[in-house]
Symmetry: C2
Subunit: 222 residues, 2 copies
């Protein structure tokens, strides 16, 4: 298959982006081992040699680039302006997160489940970075610049819970409905924070601020 | 290196077990990519050809066999006689689990973190089987033969939380002390169950039984 003249005229960055969008769409709905370079070329309306020109490392390289782009989108889901109550912010972020999970179902499962052929220490590092960014956002909105050990354990364990529950949600045909799952995840967050507050002064302070704001008194939680 | 006559006289199963014990010990304390066949042979007092005779697939095969043996040990940690309150049983199981994590620190981290060279869909399946077995044990002790979706989400998310927290615990030089972490994990479990009980009748029933037994009235929770 030759390239048409039109392809050649696309700027490099634009062409690369177009290939990545096509790849991410394919990787979102199939396990990575079921996506070939030919599939990507065909989805992008490009030739196989063109794909290799942009991604000489083949499927592994394009998978990692698509993963990086998905990780950026996912991290953007967590970014919420510091307005409204903490619960409202958590609700908005979870709504965006669950929409992302639903949009990238097979790819999300393959990625989080691990063990796929394209998994390397680099891809694991990208996913870990997303988890860290999610925790970071939670601390920002809780107004905690220096979270102690127990608060970090509470937040990181909740993030792991969200991830695991998302996989079950996909497996179960997206049941319960997204808004119900989101509300349960918020209750789950408050419950873990409450359990932690019993023995940890910092978590207790954070919880008080969180609950005060929930009760209709939005304020800077610190 | 030749084998001594003594080696040859060991029965096959016994020799295989001895190689596996040596391998598991090495894989427990280093990332798998830092364990060579020579290391395993030397730790077992055996020759390299002998290791290959038992494990013709080399490091990957011996790693998977060691992982299977570790998975059996870990699954055994969760097995608790149906005596005492649910909290006591959970406490016993968590004590054994945390002791296992402490004994297999580097290997546990590498395994759960993923992305290591020896990770395949087979190793991922072994780890997933352990998670499923852990959830299964929780349901047995809660007296729930047919857990519904929300209760499964609650228990699986708690197991994911335990796993994540174990990694942080290892990273943080095993702080907080194991008994404190174990008590927090029990509170965490009750908190998640409580959050779930609000909207799920089955979880609510399980929680009532759990709390009644905690309050010094051990009974069959059903």
């Amino acid at each position: 298959m030759g390239e048409s003249g039109a392809y050649r005229r696309l700027p490099v960055a634009e062409r690369r982006r177009q290939l990545l969008v096509a790849a991410l769409d394919l990787f979102s709905h199939r396990p990575p081992e079921q996506v070939s370079i030919d599939d990507i070329a065909s989805a992008a309306g490009a030739s196989r040699p063109l794909v290799y020109r942009y991604f000489p490392g083949g499927r592994q390289q394009i998978y990692e680039a698509a993963l990086r782009s998905a990780a950026e989108q996912l991290t953007a889901c967590f970014t919420e302006p510091p307005a409204g109550t903490p619960t409202q912010r958590l609700r908005n972020a979870l709504d965006r997160y669950l929409a992302f999970v639903a949009d990238h179902d097979a790819g999300f499962s393959a990625l989080v489940r691990g063990g796929c052929v394209t998994e390397t220490s680099r891809t694991t590092a990208i996913i870990d970075e997303v988890r860290r960014a999610a925790a970071e956002q939670v601390f920002v909105h809780l107004g905690v610049p220096a979270p102690g050990l127990m608060l970090r354990m509470a937040v990181r364990s909740w993030i792991a819970a969200v991830e695991t529950v998302s996989l079950i949600w996909l497996d179960e045909g997206r049941q319960p409905p997204a808004d119900q799952l989101r509300d349960w995840l918020i209750d789950h967050f408050v419950a873990v924070l409450t359990a932690t507050a019993a023995g940890d002064p910092q978590s207790s302070e954070v919880l008080s601020g969180f609950l005060a704001a929930v009760e209709g008194q939005p304020r800077s939680v610190r």
